[in-house]
Structure formats: structure tokens, C-alpha cells
Symmetry: C2
Subunit: 205 residues, 2 copies
């Protein structure tokens, strides 16, 4: 929630113009290819102003997303317990966010991603560049497998969000966190570090 | 796709009035409590006409949903291989539907369920009454556990749909079906028949 906390310098119209240009650039060209210079040109401002308002390109991307959590804070916590605890920690962390007031923003983001192709592109790019790449070096698995593992983990977490918070299918919708963790964490763990049964070289636990 | 195949008798306006009344009734009161008589009254028609147009209450419910598959046809196929194959068969079946032209309708239904609370209610009721209950008696697990198992399976399948077909997160978005099956089927199998690690009495594989 970088946009919602701390100081918000500058003219609100200029800020919005920069965010609009940045969302377009990140969705169209991807995080790597998008440049602060190009975004500044589209928004009709000086690149220095973009840095002044939003900081680095990564911080600008986070501001675009209005993502309910900052992966740079979350991932070290999830990974802190070592590779064997990643499933449990990830599910616990996820429930803590979604069961909190920030869960409302998360549901809104999900709705937007499902109905709006641009938000879907941004979210995809966000997951890939802000989450997957930060995990690659920290798990004892073949780096070549990390994208598949990440998209599998994403499939379980997105589905948990859908069923528990959007569709509200019982009993998962109101199950206590401990039940959800016990049921789902082992499956997430398998996606993160287990044998996926695919041809790509796999390091087994 | 009961609405799209076979004979479509009657006045289209009357059919639509009945479907609208039925969607309201199923979403508000649930499948069990909703009655053909009440739906007919809301639509301003005779109950016999509802039966004439749509058949049984279950058939009417399916017509309301425009669900891309008929669970009454799908479930026997998924369950035919015995309990140990349910994960693999379910993932295969799911991919066959979503990778086919019917996948477009499935994505549309998902979008609608995420953005429209009434569709979410209908979908929830549909999953519970048309899918879960039909599976209860066929799996060698404690019937008390079936709702939790079903909602866990739903979480994985909904998440697969989200990541592969809506968000299109790579590499899962374009992975060959065999890779998807190998990676995901064991997790679905655990939800369907495995040890969930929860306090409720569990029959282990």
C-alpha cells in the first residue's frame, strides 16, 4: 500500500498522470522494458519528477498495483523458516492478509484482474518480477523450475482466495486458519520444493 | 448447456421470465428450498409450464447456470476409475473442457461469479447440490469430510482456471496438459482422498 501510507508529495493530477502512464507501460512492455524516461514522456513530465514522486522503478510499479502487501517485506518472512516451512508460512501469511482489513483491497484487485485484461497483465508482471525472481535464489531447487513452481503456488493461492473470500464456498469459507493451513500447506509445499512429476530435472526433498 | 441443445419450446419471453425467477429463487433460498411452484408464481405462469419448458427442478437449475458441463455426465466419468484415479481424471477432464471452445463460457462464468454476488451464490449452490452431493456416496471417505474435501478441490481447480486461463501466468498458461496433470493431479488426489491433517476423523489411503 505504498500509495496509502507515508508522505504523498506533489500535485495529485500529476501523480495520477504518471501512474496512468506507468500502468500502461508496465502492462504493455513489461517491467524490464518499461523505462522511467518513457513513462515520464507519456505523462508529460520530467523523469526526475517521477523519481521524486515515486522513487525507483520498482517502487513505482508497486504504487501502480495498489497491491495489499509489499513482496519485499513478505518474502523474507515467508522464506525465513527454511525451505521445508515455506508451504505453511505462505498459507499463514496469506490468511493473515486476507482475513485482515487489507483483504478488501485484495478481493478488489482479484475482481479487477479477472474482468480487466490490463490489470491481469500488470498482476502477471508483478508476480513474475516482484515475487518469482526474489524467490529463485533462495530455494534449494533448480532455478529453471522456479517459474513453474511459482505459477503452481499461485494457482493454489488464487484458488484459495476465490473459494474462501469471493465465492465463499463452505466449509472452507469459514474454516479456522489452523484447518486451512493443515489442509493446504502440504500441497503448497509440494509445489514449492517437492517432486512435480514432470520431465524437467527435479531436485527432490 | 441444456439451454443450447435440443428443442427449445415456448415463448422466449416466458422462458426468460421463468429463468430470471428461478435464478433469484435458487440464489436467495438455495436449491432445496426453492420450489417450482414459487418460481412459477414469481414468473406469473403455471407450474406445469415450468416443467414443460425445463423439466425437473434440477434441469431448471442447470438451465439457469449455463454451466459449460453437465455434472451428471461428468462425475461418473471422473469417478469411473476408482478413488485412486480421481485426481488425475478430474484434472484431465477439466483441461479438456477449458481447452475446448466451451472454455470461453467457463471463463465468462468465472468472471461473472467474481464480480456478481448473485452469480457467486448460484455457483456456490450449484457446486454444493449438483456436484458435492453426487460424490459423497462414491468416495471411500467419511461423508462428513466431503464438503471440506470438495471445497479444497474447488480451490485448486478454480485457481488453475484463474492462473492458466484468466491471468495467463506462464509457464502454467501454456504448459502441455501432461505437465499440468503430473504437477496438479497428486494435490487434487490428496484433497479428495488423502490425509488432510485436520481434527475431523480421516480415513487414510
Amino acid at each position: 500500500m505504498a500509495r496509502r501510507t507515508g508522505r504523498r508529495p506533489g500535485n495529485p493530477d500529476t501523480r495520477e498522470a504518471i501512474l496512468t502512464a506507468a500502468r500502461e507501460a508496465f502492462a504493455e512492455r513489461g517491467f524490464e522494458a518499461a523505462s522511467i524516461r518513457g513513462i515520464a514522456t507519456s505523462a508529460g513530465v520530467d523523469p526526475a519528477l517521477v523519481h521524486h514522486y515515486f522513487g525507483t522503478k520498482e517502487q513505482l510499479f508497486k504504487s501502480c498495483m495498489d497491491f495489499p502487501i509489499d513482496p519485499a517485506e513478505m518474502l523474507p518472512q515467508v522464506l525465513a523458516g527454511g525451505p521445508d516451512e515455506i508451504g505453511e508460512r505462505l498459507v499463514r501469511f496469506f490468511l493473515r492478509i486476507w482475513d485482515s482489513p487489507a483483504g478488501v483491497a485484495a478481493v478488489a484487485l482479484m475482481r479487477s484482474a479477472v474482468t480487466n485484461d490490463w490489470t491481469a497483465r500488470l498482476l502477471r508482471e508483478f508476480v513474475t518480477t516482484q515475487m518469482v525472481r526474489h524467490v529463485v535464489t533462495r530455494l534449494a531447487v533448480d532455478p529453471a523450475e522456479v517459474p513453474l513452481r511459482a505459477s503452481l503456488v499461485a494457482s493454489q493461492m488464487a484458488g484459495l482466495a476465490m473459494v474462501r473470500y469471493v465465492l465463499k464456498l463452505e466449509p472452507l469459507a469459514s474454516a479456522p486458519p489452523e484447518v486451512v493451513v493443515a489442509a493446504i500447506a502440504p500441497n503448497v509445499q509440494r509445489y514449492a520444493t517437492g517432486d512435480l512429476g514432470v520431465a524437467a530435472p527435479a531436485q527432490r526433498e
